[in-house]
Symmetry: C2
Subunit: 221 residues, 2 copies
Protein backbone atom coordinates (compact mmCIF):
# COMPACT_ATOMS: atom_id res chain seq x y z
CA UNK A 1 0.00 0.00 0.00
CA UNK A 2 1.24 3.47 -0.91
CA UNK A 3 1.43 5.81 2.07
CA UNK A 4 1.55 9.58 2.00
CA UNK A 5 2.69 11.51 5.07
CA UNK A 6 0.87 14.74 4.59
CA UNK A 7 -0.91 17.84 5.87
CA UNK A 8 -4.35 18.41 4.35
CA UNK A 9 -3.81 22.10 3.51
CA UNK A 10 -0.34 21.67 2.03
CA UNK A 11 -0.52 22.47 -1.70
CA UNK A 12 2.50 20.22 -2.28
CA UNK A 13 0.74 17.24 -0.68
CA UNK A 14 -2.42 18.01 -2.64
CA UNK A 15 -0.46 18.01 -5.92
CA UNK A 16 0.89 14.54 -5.11
CA UNK A 17 -2.59 13.32 -4.12
CA UNK A 18 -4.11 14.60 -7.35
CA UNK A 19 -1.41 12.94 -9.46
CA UNK A 20 -1.85 9.63 -7.62
CA UNK A 21 -5.64 9.78 -7.92
CA UNK A 22 -5.59 10.69 -11.61
CA UNK A 23 -3.49 7.56 -12.18
CA UNK A 24 -5.92 5.54 -10.05
CA UNK A 25 -3.31 4.66 -7.45
CA UNK A 26 -4.80 4.13 -4.01
CA UNK A 27 -2.99 5.83 -1.17
CA UNK A 28 -3.25 5.77 2.59
CA UNK A 29 -3.03 9.31 3.98
CA UNK A 30 -1.10 9.73 7.22
CA UNK A 31 -1.55 13.16 8.80
CA UNK A 32 1.85 14.35 9.91
CA UNK A 33 2.38 17.19 12.36
CA UNK A 34 5.62 18.02 10.58
CA UNK A 35 6.11 21.14 12.72
CA UNK A 36 6.53 19.06 15.89
CA UNK A 37 9.96 17.69 16.69
CA UNK A 38 9.25 14.11 15.64
CA UNK A 39 12.48 12.13 15.25
CA UNK A 40 10.81 9.27 13.35
CA UNK A 41 9.59 11.73 10.77
CA UNK A 42 12.95 13.52 10.59
CA UNK A 43 14.56 10.20 9.79
CA UNK A 44 12.17 9.74 6.87
CA UNK A 45 12.84 13.26 5.61
CA UNK A 46 15.73 15.21 7.16
CA UNK A 47 14.25 18.32 5.52
CA UNK A 48 11.37 18.00 8.03
CA UNK A 49 8.75 18.67 5.37
CA UNK A 50 5.68 17.00 3.92
CA UNK A 51 4.91 15.34 1.51
CA UNK A 52 6.82 12.12 2.09
CA UNK A 53 5.67 9.16 -0.01
CA UNK A 54 6.27 5.49 0.79
CA UNK A 55 5.96 3.57 -2.48
CA UNK A 56 7.69 0.58 -4.09
CA UNK A 57 9.76 0.16 -0.91
CA UNK A 58 11.17 3.68 -1.33
CA UNK A 59 10.82 6.77 0.83
CA UNK A 60 10.42 9.68 -1.57
CA UNK A 61 10.64 13.36 -0.63
CA UNK A 62 10.14 16.74 -2.35
CA UNK A 63 6.85 17.00 -4.18
CA UNK A 64 8.17 17.46 -7.71
CA UNK A 65 10.66 14.57 -7.39
CA UNK A 66 7.71 12.47 -6.16
CA UNK A 67 5.41 13.52 -9.02
CA UNK A 68 8.08 12.85 -11.66
CA UNK A 69 8.68 9.43 -10.10
CA UNK A 70 4.98 8.58 -10.26
CA UNK A 71 4.84 9.80 -13.87
CA UNK A 72 7.87 7.68 -14.85
CA UNK A 73 6.67 4.52 -13.17
CA UNK A 74 2.96 4.93 -14.06
CA UNK A 75 2.96 6.77 -17.39
CA UNK A 76 -0.81 6.43 -18.03
CA UNK A 77 -2.67 8.72 -18.22
CA UNK A 78 0.24 11.03 -19.13
CA UNK A 79 0.41 14.20 -17.03
CA UNK A 80 3.62 15.35 -18.72
CA UNK A 81 3.53 15.19 -22.53
CA UNK A 82 6.25 13.58 -24.66
CA UNK A 83 7.63 16.53 -26.51
CA UNK A 84 10.58 18.25 -24.70
CA UNK A 85 9.31 21.78 -25.35
CA UNK A 86 5.86 20.89 -24.02
CA UNK A 87 7.47 19.18 -21.01
CA UNK A 88 9.45 22.36 -20.28
CA UNK A 89 6.23 24.40 -20.37
CA UNK A 90 4.50 22.00 -17.94
CA UNK A 91 7.46 22.18 -15.56
CA UNK A 92 7.69 25.97 -15.90
CA UNK A 93 4.10 26.34 -14.78
CA UNK A 94 4.49 23.79 -11.97
CA UNK A 95 7.45 25.87 -10.71
CA UNK A 96 5.47 29.08 -11.19
CA UNK A 97 2.92 27.82 -8.68
CA UNK A 98 5.19 25.91 -6.33
CA UNK A 99 7.70 28.74 -6.13
CA UNK A 100 6.32 32.16 -7.14
CA UNK A 101 2.63 31.65 -6.33
CA UNK A 102 3.52 29.82 -3.11
CA UNK A 103 5.86 32.59 -2.01
CA UNK A 104 3.59 35.49 -2.99
CA UNK A 105 0.15 34.05 -2.20
CA UNK A 106 -0.17 30.67 -0.45
CA UNK A 107 2.43 31.35 2.23
CA UNK A 108 0.95 34.81 2.88
CA UNK A 109 -2.65 33.66 3.21
CA UNK A 110 -2.89 29.96 4.13
CA UNK A 111 0.18 29.95 6.35
CA UNK A 112 -0.78 33.18 8.08
CA UNK A 113 -4.42 32.27 8.63
CA UNK A 114 -4.16 28.51 9.28
CA UNK A 115 -0.65 27.13 9.84
CA UNK A 116 0.32 29.82 12.35
CA UNK A 117 -2.67 28.97 14.54
CA UNK A 118 -2.21 25.21 14.21
CA UNK A 119 1.49 25.39 15.02
CA UNK A 120 0.88 27.97 17.77
CA UNK A 121 3.42 30.32 16.26
CA UNK A 122 1.57 33.58 16.64
CA UNK A 123 -1.17 35.64 15.00
CA UNK A 124 -1.66 36.36 11.29
CA UNK A 125 0.58 39.21 10.12
CA UNK A 126 -1.83 41.73 8.58
CA UNK A 127 0.79 43.03 6.17
CA UNK A 128 1.39 39.55 4.73
CA UNK A 129 -2.34 38.91 4.40
CA UNK A 130 -2.75 42.22 2.56
CA UNK A 131 0.16 41.44 0.22
CA UNK A 132 -1.18 37.95 -0.49
CA UNK A 133 -4.69 39.25 -1.19
CA UNK A 134 -3.24 41.76 -3.63
CA UNK A 135 -0.85 39.31 -5.34
CA UNK A 136 -3.50 36.66 -6.02
CA UNK A 137 -5.22 39.09 -8.40
CA UNK A 138 -2.13 39.28 -10.61
CA UNK A 139 -1.90 35.48 -10.62
CA UNK A 140 -5.59 34.98 -11.49
CA UNK A 141 -5.14 37.46 -14.34
CA UNK A 142 -2.07 35.58 -15.56
CA UNK A 143 -3.98 32.29 -15.46
CA UNK A 144 -6.82 33.95 -17.37
CA UNK A 145 -4.33 35.18 -19.97
CA UNK A 146 -2.97 31.63 -20.39
CA UNK A 147 -6.47 30.16 -20.58
CA UNK A 148 -7.42 32.70 -23.23
CA UNK A 149 -5.00 30.89 -25.53
CA UNK A 150 -5.14 27.33 -24.24
CA UNK A 151 -7.69 24.82 -23.04
CA UNK A 152 -5.56 23.87 -20.03
CA UNK A 153 -2.78 25.85 -18.35
CA UNK A 154 0.15 24.31 -20.24
CA UNK A 155 -1.57 23.54 -23.56
CA UNK A 156 -4.44 21.61 -25.08
CA UNK A 157 -4.23 18.70 -22.61
CA UNK A 158 -4.68 18.45 -18.86
CA UNK A 159 -1.22 18.14 -17.26
CA UNK A 160 0.58 18.23 -13.94
CA UNK A 161 0.65 22.04 -14.31
CA UNK A 162 -3.13 22.13 -13.83
CA UNK A 163 -2.87 19.97 -10.72
CA UNK A 164 -0.10 22.12 -9.26
CA UNK A 165 -2.24 25.23 -9.78
CA UNK A 166 -5.43 23.56 -8.52
CA UNK A 167 -3.57 22.30 -5.44
CA UNK A 168 -2.72 25.87 -4.42
CA UNK A 169 -6.07 27.37 -5.37
CA UNK A 170 -8.02 24.67 -3.55
CA UNK A 171 -6.11 25.45 -0.32
CA UNK A 172 -6.95 29.14 -0.74
CA UNK A 173 -10.56 28.29 -1.58
CA UNK A 174 -10.76 26.33 1.67
CA UNK A 175 -10.29 29.64 3.51
CA UNK A 176 -12.44 31.62 1.00
CA UNK A 177 -9.49 33.58 -0.37
CA UNK A 178 -10.24 33.15 -4.08
CA UNK A 179 -12.44 35.68 -5.86
CA UNK A 180 -13.99 33.40 -8.50
CA UNK A 181 -15.74 36.37 -10.06
CA UNK A 182 -12.46 37.94 -11.13
CA UNK A 183 -11.95 35.83 -14.25
CA UNK A 184 -14.51 33.70 -16.06
CA UNK A 185 -11.94 31.41 -17.73
CA UNK A 186 -10.26 30.63 -14.43
CA UNK A 187 -13.60 29.81 -12.84
CA UNK A 188 -14.53 27.49 -15.72
CA UNK A 189 -11.10 25.85 -15.58
CA UNK A 190 -11.47 25.26 -11.84
CA UNK A 191 -15.02 23.91 -12.28
CA UNK A 192 -13.69 21.38 -14.82
CA UNK A 193 -10.82 20.22 -12.65
CA UNK A 194 -12.91 20.21 -9.47
CA UNK A 195 -15.42 17.83 -11.02
CA UNK A 196 -12.80 15.17 -11.80
CA UNK A 197 -12.96 12.01 -9.67
CA UNK A 198 -9.30 12.71 -8.68
CA UNK A 199 -10.49 15.81 -6.81
CA UNK A 200 -12.99 14.04 -4.54
CA UNK A 201 -10.64 13.34 -1.66
CA UNK A 202 -9.42 16.97 -1.68
CA UNK A 203 -13.00 18.23 -1.44
CA UNK A 204 -13.66 15.95 1.54
CA UNK A 205 -10.73 17.36 3.56
CA UNK A 206 -11.48 18.77 6.98
CA UNK A 207 -8.91 20.59 9.10
CA UNK A 208 -9.78 20.60 12.77
CA UNK A 209 -10.77 24.08 13.93
CA UNK A 210 -11.11 25.34 10.36
CA UNK A 211 -14.40 24.13 8.83
CA UNK A 212 -14.50 24.77 5.06
CA UNK A 213 -17.07 27.23 3.66
CA UNK A 214 -20.12 25.70 1.98
CA UNK A 215 -18.99 26.51 -1.60
CA UNK A 216 -15.66 24.67 -1.10
CA UNK A 217 -16.98 21.22 -2.03
CA UNK A 218 -19.78 22.51 -4.26
CA UNK A 219 -19.18 21.62 -7.92
CA UNK A 220 -21.52 24.43 -8.93
CA UNK A 221 -19.82 27.21 -6.93
CA UNK B 1 23.62 30.38 -30.48
CA UNK B 2 22.19 29.57 -27.06
CA UNK B 3 21.64 32.67 -24.92
CA UNK B 4 21.26 32.78 -21.15
CA UNK B 5 19.79 35.86 -19.51
CA UNK B 6 21.42 35.70 -16.13
CA UNK B 7 22.90 37.25 -13.01
CA UNK B 8 26.38 36.02 -12.12
CA UNK B 9 25.64 35.34 -8.43
CA UNK B 10 22.31 33.60 -9.00
CA UNK B 11 22.70 29.94 -7.97
CA UNK B 12 19.88 29.03 -10.39
CA UNK B 13 21.73 30.58 -13.34
CA UNK B 14 24.94 28.89 -12.25
CA UNK B 15 23.22 25.50 -12.18
CA UNK B 16 22.06 26.01 -15.77
CA UNK B 17 25.54 27.20 -16.83
CA UNK B 18 27.17 24.13 -15.25
CA UNK B 19 24.74 21.75 -16.95
CA UNK B 20 25.28 23.44 -20.34
CA UNK B 21 29.07 23.41 -19.92
CA UNK B 22 29.19 19.78 -18.80
CA UNK B 23 27.34 18.92 -22.01
CA UNK B 24 29.77 21.10 -23.99
CA UNK B 25 27.04 23.44 -25.19
CA UNK B 26 28.37 26.96 -25.83
CA UNK B 27 26.25 29.75 -24.42
CA UNK B 28 26.27 33.50 -24.68
CA UNK B 29 25.70 35.06 -21.26
CA UNK B 30 23.55 38.17 -21.15
CA UNK B 31 23.67 39.97 -17.80
CA UNK B 32 20.12 40.88 -16.89
CA UNK B 33 19.26 43.46 -14.24
CA UNK B 34 16.09 41.51 -13.50
CA UNK B 35 15.22 43.78 -10.57
CA UNK B 36 14.74 46.76 -12.86
CA UNK B 37 11.37 47.25 -14.49
CA UNK B 38 12.38 46.06 -17.96
CA UNK B 39 9.33 45.34 -20.12
CA UNK B 40 11.32 43.42 -22.74
CA UNK B 41 12.54 41.06 -20.06
CA UNK B 42 9.08 40.74 -18.48
CA UNK B 43 7.76 39.64 -21.87
CA UNK B 44 10.37 36.88 -21.99
CA UNK B 45 9.54 35.78 -18.45
CA UNK B 46 6.43 37.23 -16.78
CA UNK B 47 7.81 35.86 -13.50
CA UNK B 48 10.54 38.54 -13.77
CA UNK B 49 13.27 36.11 -12.76
CA UNK B 50 16.52 34.81 -14.17
CA UNK B 51 17.56 32.38 -15.61
CA UNK B 52 15.84 32.64 -18.99
CA UNK B 53 17.33 30.47 -21.74
CA UNK B 54 16.92 31.02 -25.48
CA UNK B 55 17.58 27.69 -27.18
CA UNK B 56 16.17 25.82 -30.19
CA UNK B 57 13.94 28.79 -30.94
CA UNK B 58 12.31 28.48 -27.49
CA UNK B 59 12.30 30.82 -24.50
CA UNK B 60 12.66 28.62 -21.44
CA UNK B 61 12.12 29.74 -17.84
CA UNK B 62 12.51 28.22 -14.34
CA UNK B 63 15.90 26.66 -13.76
CA UNK B 64 14.77 23.08 -13.18
CA UNK B 65 12.48 23.07 -16.24
CA UNK B 66 15.48 24.39 -18.21
CA UNK B 67 17.88 21.75 -16.86
CA UNK B 68 15.44 18.90 -17.54
CA UNK B 69 14.97 20.23 -21.09
CA UNK B 70 18.75 20.28 -21.69
CA UNK B 71 19.02 16.76 -20.25
CA UNK B 72 16.21 15.46 -22.48
CA UNK B 73 17.52 17.05 -25.68
CA UNK B 74 21.24 16.44 -24.96
CA UNK B 75 21.36 13.24 -22.93
CA UNK B 76 25.15 12.81 -22.98
CA UNK B 77 26.85 12.89 -20.57
CA UNK B 78 23.87 11.91 -18.41
CA UNK B 79 23.33 14.16 -15.39
CA UNK B 80 20.17 12.32 -14.34
CA UNK B 81 20.53 8.51 -14.27
CA UNK B 82 18.09 6.11 -15.94
CA UNK B 83 16.59 4.34 -12.94
CA UNK B 84 13.42 6.03 -11.56
CA UNK B 85 14.49 5.65 -7.91
CA UNK B 86 17.90 7.17 -8.66
CA UNK B 87 16.23 9.95 -10.66
CA UNK B 88 13.98 10.72 -7.67
CA UNK B 89 17.04 10.97 -5.41
CA UNK B 90 18.79 13.38 -7.81
CA UNK B 91 15.67 15.55 -7.98
CA UNK B 92 15.20 15.39 -4.19
CA UNK B 93 18.68 16.80 -3.66
CA UNK B 94 18.28 19.42 -6.39
CA UNK B 95 15.11 20.58 -4.59
CA UNK B 96 16.89 20.41 -1.23
CA UNK B 97 19.36 23.03 -2.47
CA UNK B 98 17.06 25.11 -4.67
CA UNK B 99 14.36 25.28 -2.01
CA UNK B 100 15.57 24.56 1.55
CA UNK B 101 19.22 25.60 1.22
CA UNK B 102 18.24 28.63 -0.84
CA UNK B 103 15.65 29.72 1.70
CA UNK B 104 17.77 29.06 4.80
CA UNK B 105 21.24 30.01 3.55
CA UNK B 106 21.68 31.59 0.10
CA UNK B 107 18.88 34.12 0.45
CA UNK B 108 20.07 35.06 3.94
CA UNK B 109 23.72 35.58 3.01
CA UNK B 110 24.16 36.31 -0.70
CA UNK B 111 20.94 38.29 -1.04
CA UNK B 112 21.56 40.27 2.15
CA UNK B 113 25.21 41.02 1.43
CA UNK B 114 25.17 41.45 -2.37
CA UNK B 115 21.74 41.69 -4.00
CA UNK B 116 20.41 44.26 -1.54
CA UNK B 117 23.30 46.60 -2.31
CA UNK B 118 23.13 46.04 -6.07
CA UNK B 119 19.39 46.60 -6.17
CA UNK B 120 19.63 49.54 -3.72
CA UNK B 121 17.03 47.95 -1.48
CA UNK B 122 18.61 48.65 1.89
CA UNK B 123 21.30 47.32 4.19
CA UNK B 124 21.99 43.70 5.16
CA UNK B 125 19.66 42.52 7.92
CA UNK B 126 21.98 41.29 10.69
CA UNK B 127 19.44 38.76 11.95
CA UNK B 128 19.17 37.12 8.53
CA UNK B 129 22.96 37.02 8.15
CA UNK B 130 23.26 35.41 11.57
CA UNK B 131 20.57 32.82 10.76
CA UNK B 132 22.19 32.02 7.42
CA UNK B 133 25.64 31.63 8.98
CA UNK B 134 24.18 29.24 11.52
CA UNK B 135 22.09 27.23 9.03
CA UNK B 136 24.96 26.61 6.61
CA UNK B 137 26.66 24.48 9.30
CA UNK B 138 23.71 22.06 9.38
CA UNK B 139 23.75 21.84 5.59
CA UNK B 140 27.50 21.21 5.38
CA UNK B 141 27.08 18.48 8.00
CA UNK B 142 24.24 16.92 6.00
CA UNK B 143 26.35 16.99 2.84
CA UNK B 144 29.19 15.38 4.79
CA UNK B 145 26.81 12.67 6.00
CA UNK B 146 25.70 11.96 2.40
CA UNK B 147 29.32 11.95 1.16
CA UNK B 148 30.26 9.52 3.92
CA UNK B 149 28.13 6.95 2.09
CA UNK B 150 28.43 8.07 -1.53
CA UNK B 151 31.07 9.28 -3.93
CA UNK B 152 28.81 12.09 -5.19
CA UNK B 153 25.79 13.69 -3.50
CA UNK B 154 23.10 11.51 -5.10
CA UNK B 155 25.09 8.29 -5.58
CA UNK B 156 28.18 6.87 -7.22
CA UNK B 157 28.02 9.16 -10.27
CA UNK B 158 28.22 12.91 -10.71
CA UNK B 159 24.69 14.26 -11.34
CA UNK B 160 22.68 17.43 -11.57
CA UNK B 161 22.38 17.27 -7.76
CA UNK B 162 26.11 18.02 -7.44
CA UNK B 163 25.79 20.97 -9.79
CA UNK B 164 22.78 22.35 -7.91
CA UNK B 165 24.73 22.15 -4.64
CA UNK B 166 27.93 23.54 -6.16
CA UNK B 167 25.98 26.40 -7.74
CA UNK B 168 24.81 27.55 -4.29
CA UNK B 169 28.10 26.92 -2.50
CA UNK B 170 30.11 28.74 -5.18
CA UNK B 171 27.94 31.85 -4.72
CA UNK B 172 28.56 31.69 -0.98
CA UNK B 173 32.26 31.06 -1.52
CA UNK B 174 32.39 34.21 -3.65
CA UNK B 175 31.56 36.17 -0.50
CA UNK B 176 33.73 33.95 1.76
CA UNK B 177 30.76 32.48 3.59
CA UNK B 178 31.76 28.80 3.45
CA UNK B 179 33.91 27.32 6.22
CA UNK B 180 35.79 24.68 4.19
CA UNK B 181 37.44 23.39 7.37
CA UNK B 182 34.13 22.19 8.78
CA UNK B 183 33.95 18.94 6.83
CA UNK B 184 36.78 17.21 4.98
CA UNK B 185 34.49 15.25 2.62
CA UNK B 186 32.64 18.37 1.54
CA UNK B 187 35.93 20.16 0.86
CA UNK B 188 37.21 17.23 -1.23
CA UNK B 189 33.90 17.03 -3.10
CA UNK B 190 34.06 20.75 -3.88
CA UNK B 191 37.71 20.49 -4.97
CA UNK B 192 36.74 17.73 -7.42
CA UNK B 193 33.82 19.62 -8.90
CA UNK B 194 35.68 22.94 -8.96
CA UNK B 195 38.46 21.44 -11.07
CA UNK B 196 36.09 20.35 -13.85
CA UNK B 197 36.29 22.31 -17.11
CA UNK B 198 32.56 23.07 -16.71
CA UNK B 199 33.40 25.19 -13.65
CA UNK B 200 35.86 27.53 -15.38
CA UNK B 201 33.39 30.19 -16.43
CA UNK B 202 31.91 30.30 -12.88
CA UNK B 203 35.38 30.84 -11.39
CA UNK B 204 36.01 33.72 -13.80
CA UNK B 205 32.85 35.60 -12.71
CA UNK B 206 33.28 39.16 -11.45
CA UNK B 207 30.45 41.16 -9.93
CA UNK B 208 31.07 44.90 -10.10
CA UNK B 209 31.74 46.29 -6.62
CA UNK B 210 32.23 42.81 -5.15
CA UNK B 211 35.69 41.47 -6.04
CA UNK B 212 35.98 37.76 -5.17
CA UNK B 213 38.46 36.69 -2.48
CA UNK B 214 41.71 35.15 -3.69
CA UNK B 215 40.79 31.58 -2.74
CA UNK B 216 37.59 31.72 -4.82
CA UNK B 217 39.19 30.68 -8.13
CA UNK B 218 42.04 28.72 -6.52
CA UNK B 219 41.74 25.00 -7.24
CA UNK B 220 43.94 24.30 -4.21
CA UNK B 221 41.90 26.34 -1.71
Amino acid sequence: MIQLYQFALSPFCRKVRLVLAEKKLDVQLVDEKYWEDNQDFKRRNPAGKVPVLRMDGLTLCESQAICEYIEETHPEPALIPNNPAARAEVRRIVSWFDDKFHHEVTSKLVYERVNKKLTRSGYPDGRNVKEGSKAIKFHLDYMGWLLDQRRWLAGSELTMADFAAAAHLSCLDYISDVDWDRNRQVREWYAKIKSRPAFRSILADQVSGFPPPRHYADLDF
